[in-house]
Symmetry: C3
Subunit: 360 residues, 3 copies
């Protein structure tokens, strides 16, 4: 039995299989109507996220399963102080698979170490959101017919955007990918992506501040929202915000065959007028998210059936003598959870918290 | 493919067919157990309304379908600023039909212009609530055996009560209907109902302040709640409130064969002691609401199957140069939504917002 | 048709039958997959309780039924002032059985007197929680192989803990039971349990302040949480709290064959390290709760099918001239609900409110 907490929990080969399954579901939905009969998905959403939650629920229902859960922490036992570990153990009595959204980084990982059923991370803080990346990859594959030989522009908040980080990690394993990182200097890609992924695997990338400048070379444009709160200087926000709004005028600069993605919800970072452009793929991306979640639920339930024992983690090189300083890490609040670190780069002497992956 | 935003989206003939379907469901529920197998209803409730939401959910479940959605805005993407249009597009990926409740007038209409699946208005501000009217009409039909030749008393808040407005619109198309409008002067029927419906179609009506006076002539008494907040003068409220409370003593003045309706929830405008009176039909009305919602869901899904293309609106006579002043109109907040008006009465030069129908 | 508001609504014989049914479900779950096809459970939770709600929902889903409802009062018509009686009548139109959680004592009883479908009390204030007791009894039966000849330790808040009260009432009917009541003096067992159950039925019990002292003799240890708010003197709380925390050291004092129960959620009253002890039965208890709820739903639906008429209450000896002083009693807020008392002990001249059972 296995859980998916990070996109890297799935090999490139496994992602290709999930994409193939999703395409088969699209072609023959009726073949999957009873695949999860008598199975239950628990949607444990400690913060609201309608789109992601309903996508998981629709996925399970279209597989013939059913759904239970909660959509915000105030409706949950968490308001009575129950730990993520306990909730996961109890939910293992009520459901066959869990999709968990949590504002604290590492919470779904803690759940996966305590549940006796598979756990899917449906977003934890600004850490991971693997099923969004699966949706992104199916969309690129369906829109452009390939996952290799692509110039991918990532625009907006590249610092805190978990979907951007996961997409870089996943696409870096595909062949001949080049990234164009389009962001104001306040929101540039963080060092763990820069050094642990891009530099480490020799992925070519350029960094620019202007969306217009980047536009002509892109096969994929991945838009994200820039939040005012991210800026120290509000005038800097005012100066920049329009630069990162995609409108029909900027679309004129783009290739004829390319696609625009957005994890949604958007506020105003893509003009509504762009929606009519055939290259605007973000609503199809939402649909693709449902199909990839169906494929993932199927895969994890099949694995759990074949091998109901939880995969053990390798405890040999864990380090017990450090304390995580990330205020959003689950280890800050979870009852009796030991602080655990692991050396992720011996040459550079980098140690990371096993829950939130923040550097010690 | 068609949506139902106002009761007038359904012809009198179509309403009769829905009533016939509902009566067939009541007689043979088992014939409908699988009618919506593999279909999903999205209940998008931007404000709580337990009774209406659960009525829709029960309706879909009794048709063999399933349900997903949210029950208040704080659990939805709306709290992140997502537009109604975007939510409708995304939900079209997850469900087969939408029931939307929204505090802003015109929101379900905007949804219906963006969704690729049918939308049912489950109440928008004090604007429309068509499925309540369907429940009312089935109840009158079942209680009295007819929808013609009726004296209908409407009591309470006739100014803001959307269920009252919809019922007048719908019943005015039936034969030989007479209304008795029972309300304090602060809460009299608004002019758009008075002139656009009652006067226009020459429907006889009288206006009285006293429920006791009206009681003996009524075939139907439709009760609504009077809210303290509606009065400028709190003493006026205190003076009047008891006058509009229905109790067993007032019931003694009524015909032996008549029925009392109420959209529920009631607070204290009908004494609990009236519940035992066989003429008290308001709980049966709640049950009838479920059956009419079943009939409507069936009808709209069948139409969508036969013709999956969304009906286009007639754009020839739209007016683009006016601004809606209704603070509750969806056009006040929805991203990039154009202000649109239409002339509804050329003789009187009346122009109305196409979203909330408020006069320019 | 019958409802279950208190554990005493079920005879000892009926509880044994429910335990037998639950064990058969555990052995042959597939035999029950369609038992509640086309049936709907309404979960009416006026305050959040994730574990109980999801346990009921999982129970109904595993019987092939479906679920609708609300998970907190703000999403319900209660926020518009609808009475429990009215909500129960309306929900009877939408569902086949109700599970109700309510902060006010007696609310599920009021529901059961107005609904035309069975009502299960899922917890009302600090009054009753019968399905928790059913879970406790199945757990004792499965863990120890018997429900007789037991020394049962009850530890923590015995004054307000409704699960403790119900368990004493239920186990007192089994043969040769002895209780050890482990609590600080502020939180001792209330007089209605002491005199109406323990003394009345001559059940042997001892009262101690020390968990360590009690430990060696126990076959069952039932842990509950001690809340700071219950103490007049905060220093008294600080002095005592650790005494009532179960840890591995205290477990060393216990019998080799015994079991630890807890209604969950726990906060810190049981150390996480105890979880690995095979005698820690509290997570299996959560699973057992689901099976007992399945058995109870089945039983009540079968009874309702055989006899759809609501059992009438005996009104001959009701007393109309007293007023309930319990601020949490449903009779304090419910519209037009008559105050009703009944003499429960003629010798001692004790009269109790029929809703919350508080003494006049």
């Amino acid at each position: 039995m296995r859980s998916v907490i990070s996109i890297l929990d799935l090999s490139a080969e496994e992602i290709n299989q999930l994409i193939a399954t999703a395409k088969d579901i699209i072609a023959h939905p009726e073949n999957y109507w009873d695949k999860c009969a008598h199975k239950k998905l628990a949607t444990l959403f400690y913060e609201p996220s309608t789109r992601t939650r309903l996508s998981f629920e629709a996925a399970m229902l279209e597989l013939g399963g059913s759904v239970l859960g909660f959509s915000e922490a105030s409706s949950s036992s968490a308001s009575k102080g129950e730990s993520v570990a306990d909730t996961s153990k109890i939910l293992s009595c009520y459901a066959d698979i869990i999709a968990m959204r949590h504002p604290q980084e590492g919470a779904p990982y803690v759940a996966s170490r305590n549940a006796t059923i598979p756990v899917i991370n449906a977003g934890d803080g600004s850490h991971n959101h693997p099923t969004q990346t699966l949706a992104d990859m199916l969309t690129i594959s369906r829109e452009l017919g390939r996952l290799e030989n692509l110039t991918i522009g990532l625009c907006g908040d590249l610092k805190y955007g978990r979907t951007v980080h996961s997409l870089i990690e996943a696409m870096s394993r595909c062949g001949n990918i080049r990234f164009v990182l389009i962001a104001p200097k306040e929101l540039k890609i963080p060092s763990f992506i820069r050094y642990n992924v891009l530099e480490k695997y020799h992925i070519p990338y350029t960094e620019v501040e202007s969306l217009e400048e980047a536009m002509p070379q892109l096969d994929v444009l991945y838009m994200t929202r820039i939040q005012r709160e991210r800026f120290d200087d509000p005038w800097e926000y005012e100066r920049l915000k329009d630069t990162y709004i995609l409108d029909t005028k900027k679309m004129e600069l783009a290739k004829e065959r390319m696609c625009v993605l957005h994890p949604l919800p958007r506020v105003n970072e893509i003009s509504v007028q762009v929606d009519a452009d055939p290259r605007a793929a973000y609503f199809r991306q939402a649909l693709n998210g449902k199909y990839m979640r169906m494929a993932l639920i199927l895969k994890l339930l099949e694995e759990a059936k074949a091998n109901p024992i939880r995969e053990e983690i390798d405890t040999t090189d864990l380090e017990y003598d450090r304390v995580c300083t990330n205020p959003k890490c689950i280890s800050r609040t979870e009852q009796e959870l030991p602080q655990l670190f692991r050396c992720t780069d011996k040459a550079a002497d980098i140690h990371r918290c096993i829950y939130c992956e923040q550097r010690a």
